[in-house]
Amino acid sequence: MKDVSLAKTYALHIGIIALLFVLNFVLPDYHQGLFARIMTLAVFAMGYNLLFGYVGLLSLGHAMFFSAGLYGAGLTVYHLGWGVPEAFVAGVACGALLALVIGLLALRTSGVAFMIVTMMFAQVFYLLILYFAAWTGGDQGLVIQQTSRALNFGSTSFDLTNPTVRYMSALALFSVVLFITLAVVRSRFGRVLVAIRENEERTRMLGYDTVANKLAAVVLSGTICAAPGAAYALLFGYIGSSFASVQYSILPLLWVLLGGAATTLGPLIGTLFMYYVTDITSGFTSAYLLIVGVALILLVLFAPKGILGSIRQRWLGWLP
């Protein structure tokens, strides 16, 4: 029985990736660009989901991890003239280091206090970006030139500003992180994380150092969230302080809630759904946020577990 659901799980995930691959050649230009952006931000949501969905830790400061990746990659390219791979690694490393420090401090709290502490740290990070405007470009941000955004493999060069290259890079990042998430949640570590979410005291009384496990989860989540930040800087060529604002801490929470917390594909579905609801409604009315709000309320009322969470509950119990 277990093996059947495992096969289905892999078939589904590979199928989704294949579908996204095909969409590159089918979608009109505008939607191709939108999808590249959605996949990148879905990775952000997946990193958030790992902590929120599986460990049950609600952070309101994940914008700082995303923007650590964004600025870590963007500033090394802009100021130091680093190549794309080095800059990407620098961005991810910044996110990992920041997550370690924030985790050590914030995990001394729990519940509402954890939300507030993470939010405060993210605000500090945001204000630091504005304060060091000489280097970061402050609220104007910085634009990374097209010439800096080429990925060289020997003699072959990929221009990351090319729509197809950009789409495929985003898809590659998305696929890697999707399978990392899948591996983590199916692993023993994942089982411990879920146990902490369900009953931390009980988990401790089974001999687990729950604080160390939560710290590992914060670092993993922060690192994953930094990756799309770094990718965003390199693929879309813009780094700005708005990505560090509180809005970008709330958005991944909404995407995850919409798509379904503690599901591997929920973050993609949530991000996709919200982007398109915003996109379509803003074509009709300037009050599109009102419609987005109504859609959110309806979902909370009728599908509190999110889109995929409700599907799993009703029909597909094997979904990871």
Partner: protein, 242 residues
């Protein structure tokens, strides 16, 4: 023989209330010890101090020759002090299998092979008679089975000292008989300390009984000695039976 566990002057105060008050206690390896006493006597607080869930106000706890007074609970579990909860606290949204896999996977040293986890889990489930319910969500198990699952999780920790806090509470008579057999079985490989209100179970199982009253040890002895003790009868047995 040296005791497996001793406490010296162990106390825990909650404000002005002396829930546990200067308790000197010793537990021999391999015995089944029951702790009895009226409600509010400090029994659960006492075993919570032993397991590390709460910190003592004063006194020391020595387990297997090492002072564990200040040791965090999770490290005591790794030393072999396992605690099963008075209020059933299995992971309701996980299957019985996953509930037991959590303690099993931690005790495995190689930490890799999936087969070994499965074998360990099924062994613990079989000992408690839950093997055919491995795939059931814990929330969907009957209350009696949830209590057994709790014990299976304790067993899977391979404890040297298993602390059971009111394990038969809420069980039907038929389930209690099976439970007594199970505890005897466990006692072959571990020392058992149980808090229990059901007197027939205590008299049947325990090698020795410790009676708590107002945070202090009132009496200690074999079931026969305790049954004959007038003070105990006044404090506890008389109250429940008369």
């Amino acid at each position: 023989m040296t005791p497996l566990l001793t406490t010296k002057g162990l106390s825990r105060h909650f404000g002005g209330l002396r829930a546990v008050d200067g308790v000197d206690f010793a537990l021999m390896p391999g015995e089944i010890r029951a702790i009895i006493g009226p409600n509010g006597a400090g029994k659960t607080t006492f075993v919570s101090l032993l397991s590390g869930r709460i910190r003592p106000s004063s006194g020391t706890i020595v387990f297997d020759g090492a002072d564990i007074t200040g040791m965090p609970a999770y490290r005591r579990v790794r030393l072999g002090v396992a605690y099963t909860f008075q209020i059933t606290s299995v992971f309701a949204n996980l299957t019985a299998f996953d509930n037991v896999a959590l303690p099993v996977q931690r005790t495995l040293t190689d930490g890799r092979s999936k087969g070994q986890v499965r074998a360990g889990v099924m062994a613990a489930l079989e000992r408690t008679g839950l093997a055919d319910r491995a795939g059931t969500l814990a929330a969907h198990l009957s209350y009696g089975h949830q209590r057994l699952l709790e014990v299976a999780m304790g067993l899977a920790l391979k404890p040297r000292l298993l602390i059971l806090d009111e394990p038969t509470q809420g069980l039907a008579d038929s389930e209690i008989d099976n439970f007594i057999v199970l505890v005897r079985e466990i006692a072959k490989s571990a020392t058992v300390l149980l808090i229990e209100h059901n007197m027939p179970v205590v008299m049947d199982l325990a090698d020795r009984i410790t009676v708590f009253n107002s945070g202090k040890i009132l009496a200690e002895g074999t079931p026969e000695q305790i049954r004959a003790d007038v003070e105990v009868q006044d404090a506890y047995l008389g109250a429940t039976h008369g």
